[in-house]
C-alpha cells in the first residue's frame, strides 16, 4: 500500500463518517459543521486527483459560501439554540433500506464495468489554462458558461425577491 493509498483511505473514512454525521446528528449546527468536514474531505479527493483548481473552488464555493450560508439560515430559522427531539422522520428505516439498496446497485454497476486501473495519461501542466480556454471557446463550452451566468443572475434576482422583507406587508 503506497502513501497515496493511505491518504486516500484516511480521507475516505473521515469524509464518509462526517457525511453520516451530517444526516444523523440531531443538532443542526453540528450537521452544518460536519458538512464542512465532509466537503473538505471531498476537496482532498480533488487534490489527490490532481484537480487543484477545483479543490480550491470547492473550498471557496462550498465551504466559504454554501456551508456558511446554510449555517446562517439554520441560525435564522429558529428561536431556540438547540433542536429538541429527533430530527429524522419516522420513515428513516425505509430511507436506510432504499439507500443501502442504491449503494449496492451502484457498487455492482461500478464493479461490472471494466475500468482502467491507472490513468491513461498524466495531467498536462497547462490543464487549468486549458480549462479556462475551453470555457470561453465557441467550439468548447462557451454556451454552458454563459448560460450558467444567466442562471446565477436569475437565481440571484429570485433569491433576493423571495427573501426580502417588506416593512409594510
Amino acid at each position: 500500500m503506497t502513501a497515496m493509498q493511505i491518504v486516500f483511505i484516511l480521507t475516505a473514512v473521515v469524509t464518509l463518517f462526517a457525511a453520516l454525521r451530517v444526516v444523523t446528528t440531531p443538532n443542526m449546527i453540528h450537521a452544518a459543521l460536519w458538512l464542512i468536514v465532509a466537503l473538505f474531505g471531498v476537496a482532498v479527493f480533488y487534490l489527490l486527483l490532481s484537480a487543484s483548481f477545483l479543490a480550491m473552488a470547492q473550498i471557496i464555493v462550498y465551504i466559504g459560501a454554501i456551508a456558511i450560508l446554510m449555517m446562517f439560515v439554520i441560525m435564522l430559522t429558529r428561536r431556540e439554540m438547540r433542536d429538541r427531539g429527533p430530527q429524522t422522520g419516522p420513515q428513516w428505516k425505509w430511507a436506510a433500506i432504499l439507500s443501502a439498496l442504491l449503494f449496492g446497485g451502484l457498487v455492482w454497476m461500478v464493479k461490472s464495468v471494466s475500468l482502467p486501473a491507472s490513468p491513461v495519461a498524466e495531467v498536462p501542466e497547462s490543464s487549468i489554462a486549458d480549462l479556462g480556454r475551453a470555457l470561453v471557446s465557441p467550439n468548447g463550452f462557451v454556451i454552458p458558461f454563459e448560460v450558467a451566468s444567466v442562471l446565477l443572475l436569475a437565481a440571484l434576482i429570485g433569491a433576493v425577491y423571495v427573501a426580502w422583507t417588506r416593512r409594510n406587508s
Binding site: L106, V113, N139, F141, P144, V150, L151, A154, G158, Y161
Partner: protein
C-alpha cells in the same frame, strides 16, 4: 480557436432574443418602477411575439439539423418546434399574469419567466450531457421561485418549498446517472453515446441502472409516476398563471429531452427494455392521475391530476418507438399546451374575481360570464378528447400509433382512461352551466385575458379542424430522430 459564424448565431436566435427581452424588462423595471403596472407585462408579451416571428423567419433549422457551438446544441426541427411552443406558453403566461396582484406588476416575475423559458429552449436543443443538465436546472431554478412567488400567501410558499426540495433531489439523482454515463463511455455528446456505450462493453444491466437514475430527473420534470407526488401540491399552491406554465411548457420541455435522450442517446438494442419500463410507467401514470382527479374538489388540484394523466397518454407515443408515435407526442404536446393554458387562464380569471379555486364556486359561471365559460368548455372538451377540438386529433394519433406498433392493449388502456377522464371534465361543465350561481354579478374580463383567451381557444379549435400543417411540423420534428 475558431470564430463564430452566422449559422451559429442564428441557431441561438430565440435564446438571444429572450435574453434581450429579459434585459429590457430589467431595465424598464429599474427606471419606471411602479408607474405603469401593466407595462412590463406588455413588454414581455411584445418581446415574445417579436421573438416568435423573428425565429420563424430567420432561425428555421437546416434540413436534417446541424450540430453547433462545439456540439453543445442541435439546431433541428425537434428543437425548433418545441421552442416555438415554449414561446407561446410564456407569452400566454405573461398575458394572464399581468392582472394578478403581486405578480403582474413585478419585473422579477417576467425576468424569471423568461430565464425559465430560455432554459426550456436550451433543453429542447441540448445535444450534450453538460448542456442538458445545465438547461434543465436553468428551467427549474427560476421555476422554484415562480412557484413560491407570492410570499404573502402560505400556499404559494409551500408550493415553492416542496417544488425545490423534490426538484433538487430528482435532479441530483439524474446528474449521478449523467456522471456514470460520461464516465463509463468517456463521451458527453448525445449523438455519439450509442456507439460509445456499445464500445465500452457496458452490460445491459448497468445501462438500465443508468437509465433508471436518469429517468428520475425526467420523470420529475414531466410529473409521471413515481415522481408525480409534488405536482398536485405545487400546482395548487403556485400562482395560477405559473401553474399554467408549469403544467404545459415545463412539461413539454421535459418530454422534449425525454424523447431526444431516449431515442438518440441509448443504443437501439436497449430500446425494448426501456420501452417496457416506460409502458408500465405510462399505465400507472394514467390510472393514478385519472382516478385521483375524480376525487378532487379544487379545480387547480383536479387539473394537476389531469395533467399527470396526460403525461401518461403522451408516454404512449414514446413507447411505440416509432416515428408515427413521436409525431403524436409532439402534436399532442402542442394541443395540450394550448388547451391547458386556456383552462388555467379561466381559473386565474375566476380566482381573481371571486378569490376561490373551489370547484363548487364555478356554479353558474355560464350565466355570470358566458364567454369565460365557453372558453372553459373548449379547453376541457379538448383535454377530454372530444371532437372537433385539438385534443381529439392528438389522442387519435397517439392511440393509433400504439395500435400500429402492436400495442393494442396500451391503446385500450388509454381509451378507457380517456372515458374516465371525460367524467370529471363533464362534472366541471355541468357545475358551470347547470348549477345555480352562488353569487350574483358578472365577471369582468380584462383586455389581456380577452386577447389571450380568444387566441388560445381559436387555436385549440383550429388545430382540431385543420390539423394538417401542424401535423406536418410535428412530423418534421419527429423525423429528426429516425
Amino acid at each position: 480557436m475558431n470564430g463564430i459564424d452566422s449559422a451559429m448565431m442564428l441557431a441561438i436566435l430565440p435564446e438571444l432574443l429572450l435574453l434581450l427581452v429579459a434585459g429590457a424588462v430589467l431595465f424598464v423595471d429599474l427606471m419606471e418602477r411602479g408607474k405603469h403596472p401593466r407595462l412590463l407585462g406588455w413588454i414581455t408579451v411584445g418581446g415574445l411575439a417579436v421573438t416568435f416571428v423573428a425565429s420563424l423567419l430567420y432561425a428555421r433549422p437546416p434540413e436534417g439539423g446541424a450540430l453547433v457551438w462545439g456540439g453543445m446544441l442541435r439546431h433541428d426541427w425537434l428543437a425548433f418546434v418545441f421552442q416555438m411552443m415554449f414561446i407561446i406558453g410564456a407569452a400566454a403566461t405573461a398575458l394572464f399574469a399581468m392582472d394578478v396582484e403581486n405578480l403582474g406588476e413585478r419585473g422579477e416575475f417576467y425576468i424569471l419567466l423568461l430565464a425559465s423559458t430560455l432554459g426550456m429552449s436550451l433543453m429542447a436543443a441540448a445535444a450534450d450531457l453538460i448542456m442538458l443538465y445545465l438547461a434543465i436546472e436553468t428551467t427549474s431554478i427560476p421555476m422554484y421561485v415562480l412557484a413560491g412567488f407570492l410570499h404573502a400567501d402560505r400556499k404559494s410558499n409551500e408550493a415553492g418549498f416542496k417544488y425545490l426540495l423534490f426538484g433538487a433531489m430528482a435532479s441530483a439523482i439524474m446528474l449521478y446517472g449523467f456522471s456514470l454515463l460520461y464516465g463509463f463511455t468517456n463521451e458527453t455528446q448525445l449523438a455519439a453515446l450509442p456507439t460509445a456505450i456499445e464500445q465500452s462493453g457496458m452490460g445491459l444491466g448497468v445501462l438500465m441502472g443508468i437509465v433508471v437514475l436518469i429517468l428520475a430527473g425526467f420523470a420529475f420534470k414531466t410529473s409521471v409516476v413515481p415522481f408525480h407526488f409534488w405536482a398536485p401540491d405545487v400546482y395548487q399552491g403556485a400562482p395560477t398563471p405559473v401553474t399554467g406554465f408549469l403544467s404545459t411548457a415545463s412539461k413539454a420541455a421535459g418530454f422534449a429531452v425525454l424523447v431526444r435522450v431516449f431515442m438518440s442517446a441509448f443504443p437501439s438494442s436497449a430500446m425494448p427494455y426501456w420501452g417496457a419500463m416506460l409502458a408500465a410507467i405510462s399505465v400507472a401514470t394514467m390510472v393514478l392521475g385519472n382516478t385521483l382527479a375524480i376525487a378532487q374538489n379544487d379545480i387547480k388540484r383536479m387539473l394537476a391530476y389531469s395533467s399527470i394523466a396526460h403525461a401518461g397518454y403522451i408516454l404512449i407515443g414514446l413507447v411505440t418507438l416509432s416515428e408515427f408515435g413521436i409525431t403524436g407526442v409532439v402534436f399532442y404536446l402542442g394541443v395540450y399546451l394550448l388547451s391547458n393554458l386556456t383552462a388555467f387562464a379561466v381559473v386565474a380569471m375566476v380566482e381573481k374575481a371571486d378569490g376561490t379555486t373551489a370547484l363548487s364556486d364555478y356554479a353558474g359561471l355560464g350565466k355570470r360570464a358566458p364567454w369565460l365559460a365557453l372558453a372553459l368548455m373548449v379547453a376541457l372538451l379538448s383535454l377530454s378528447g372530444t371532437p372537433p377540438f385539438g385534443g381529439f386529433v392528438g389522442k387519435a394519433w397517439l392511440f393509433g400509433a400504439a395500435v400500429k406498433s402492436d400495442l393494442v392493449w396500451l391503446a385500450i388502456v388509454g381509451v378507457l382512461n380517456s372515458v374516465i377522464a371525460m367524467y370529471y371534465y363533464i362534472v366541471v361543465l355541468k357545475v358551470a352551466y347547470f348549477d345555480p350561481p352562488k353569487t350574483e354579478g358578472k365577471i369582468a374580463v380584462s383586455t389581456s385575458y380577452t386577447v389571450g383567451l380568444v387566441v388560445l381557444a381559436l387555436a385549440v379549435l383550429l388545430v382540431g379542424v385543420a390539423f394538417a400543417p401542424w401535423y406536418g411540423w410535428a412530423q418534421q420534428a419527429a423525423s429528426v430522430l429516425f
